[in-house]
Symmetry: C2
Subunit: 222 residues, 2 copies
């Protein structure tokens, strides 16, 4: 009857684990042991295994048969790969969605941008940013495309969290405003062009590792 029962245990576990991986609570390479996870959620390991399969499909975990599953690791090459894929797919989605955008949707997107600018931490910024992208893309009405974009967003968010774990500086999102401006003018191609460039922008930040040395961390910022 309740919404909780609409969902399987496996789905719930996979959502929670996905969130932990994305936010960095679970580090790249960490082992996911089915019995331990099962015990934590008060379930058996059958639904846990199904949750692992879903994480695998989303690219958040990798599984070696008989040797268990680990949190997926990533490097600069993968950050770039995801950025390029997002640019192509979000460009496509926006081109299809644009004719169906209403001024009330654009208004909501504007509010999401403001919310992003006012965010005091990465988590709420990421939420607002995703809301913006979803708002202007959803009207394309292409479910498979939107699902693919959503998975890529999760991975992007993971990069972001890993880079900006502790500190967070406020920024004003000029790209989002430029996109909205072009959309209001009905200038679809310019909006798409800005979006594609926006998504490909890769942030870079020096981070002190536990050993004291400094390394550069990269993340998709948009």
């Amino acid at each position: 009857m309740t919404a909780a029962n609409e969902d399987t245990i496996a789905n719930r576990i996979s959502r929670i684990l996905a969130d932990r991986i994305v936010t960095g609570q679970l580090e790249p390479g960490a082992k996911l042991r089915q019995d331990h996870v099962a015990e934590e959620f008060g379930a058996s390991h059958v639904p846990v295994r199904e949750a692992f399969r879903k994480l695998e499909a989303q690219g958040l975990a990798v599984s070696e048969p008989r040797r268990g599953v680990r949190v997926a690791s990533f490097d600069l090459a993968e950050v770039r790969e995801v950025a390029l894929m997002r640019a192509e797919l979000e460009g496509l989605a926006l081109r299809q969605a644009a004719p169906h955008l209403t001024s009330s949707i654009l208004e909501e997107a504007e509010q999401a941008t403001v919310a992003g600018d006012n965010s005091r931490d990465v988590r709420s910024w990421e939420e607002a940013n995703r809301r913006f992208h979803r708002l202007i893309l959803t009207p394309c009405a292409m479910p498979r495309l939107l699902a693919a974009i959503d998975d890529l967003h999760s991975v992007s968010a993971r990069f972001l969290f890993s880079a900006w774990r502790s500190e967070w500086e406020v920024r004003t999102d000029h790209d989002h405003r430029a996109i909205l401006g072009f959309l209001r003018q009905g200038n679809i191609e310019n909006a798409v062009a800005v979006l594609e460039r926006h998504v490909q922008w890769i942030g870079q930040k020096p981070v002190k590792s536990p050993t004291g040395s400094t390394r550069d961390v990269f993340a998709i910022v948009g």
Copy 2:
């Protein structure tokens, strides 16, 4: 020890079911009952459920909690959606792969095209076609992108099988040859342009339904 043991039962089941769905042996909307599948493969239903999850992620099956899983159905809108996604992603892949293409790879791709032209049935044509695309795209060295393209290829193949179930007419693939020509010249952008148009071409064929009436069936042909 053998390669068969390198793989889990779940993976084997999912591969075989995927093939049946793609080739049309399992029709859209058909129920997949875990106990029956388990019995057929001489396994229990735990690996079967995991196989279902994988099919779901590939977009070949849809699952409603507590109500079972069915072979995914599709319509013209989805054929178009997959075509557009493939155009974008294969274009991206080719642009990245082009600098790493060797003349021996292009030679292999040429042979795949010839094999396609000589194919007497849909299955072998599809195999050759996929080989062509994989050959020219793999050198992009972007595993996530290639996996996404591969899943889309499966869905495309499904459309193709559903449309051309019985008869198959021989065609010469001019697009593939044009792409190879541009690649040999080092003219990447033209190669990409032809590829993107090629993949978006949607074949159309009148098919007699069991009731005797005629309807148009659409498929991605490339």
